[in-house]
């Protein structure tokens, strides 16, 4: 039997919108890494007393653009991550939508908390 092996193109994820979304979702991890780098720069700037320089640098056009893109990817990450959660975490007697809502609530509360701590003066 000489079966024909179907070919998979290198950029198979361009074949279908849902695959592309998947690859973008996976690429969000790069921006997570970028954020860690950015955060560490921020922290060391605060430690060195060069926070003002850091602020000036972070106002550069390209840094801003990068951060806008990063934020978009992180939102994609967060939304897809929460959507997945109820499927991996099946809590007995709790319907999946409750798990989903709980994640969003946690997100809102934590975000508010972080903002409060940072902006507290």
């Amino acid at each position: 039997m000489t079966a024909y092996r179907q070919h998979i193109p290198l950029f198979w994820w361009l074949r279908q919108w849902s695959y592309l979304v998947f690859v973008l979702r996976e690429l969000s991890s790069v921006f997570v890494a970028w954020f860690v780098v950015y955060l560490l720069m921020l922290v060391s700037a605060i430690g060195d007393g060069t926070y003002a320089d850091f602020q000036a640098w972070s106002g550069h056009g390209w840094v801003l653009v990068l951060n806008v893109v990063a934020l978009a990817f992180l939102l994609l990450h967060a939304v897809t991550w929460f959507a997945l959660a109820p499927r991996a975490m099946v809590v007995p007697h709790v319907p999946p939508w409750v798990v989903l809502v709980a994640h969003y609530l946690a997100w809102i509360v934590l975000s508010a908390g972080v903002a409060w701590v940072v902006l507290l003066r």
Partner: protein, 115 residues
């Protein structure tokens, strides 16, 4: 019994994914956009210094950095395998990705301890 080391890295990946989803958007929004663009008045430097010197902040930030890096390493590894059909370099890719995460975690510990 041959068991894969995958559960460990997966747990780190998941923890990082959750931490990143919950915390990064707001931090990135504040420090990456809102403060530089002046949408929101940035906090004073003294406040920030006090904040990052607080042990709980250090712990949280270290967790976020280390888990976030492992999240990145794990996902990016598979993105290279599948997205670019590079599975044949699996060992190398895994070494580089997780290696980067380990180095990055050590670096973040040093940075955080030194403030």
């Amino acid at each position: 019994m041959k068991r894969s080391p995958e559960p460990l890295v997966w747990l780190a990946f998941s923890g990082g994914g959750m931490a990143a989803a919950l915390l990064v958007p707001v931090l990135l929004f504040l420090f990456g956009l809102a403060f530089p663009l002046g949408w929101i008045e940035p906090p004073s430097e003294e406040h920030l210094v006090a904040l990052v010197r607080h042990p709980i902040t250090k712990l949280v930030l270290f967790g976020l950095c280390a888990l976030g890096l492992f999240h990145f390493a794990h996902r990016f590894r598979y993105t290279l395998y599948d997205g670019l059909k590079l599975k044949r370099f699996a060992v190398l890719i895994a070494a580089v990705c997780y290696g980067a995460a380990v180095v990055g975690s050590v670096a973040s510990a040093i940075v955080l301890l030194s403030v």
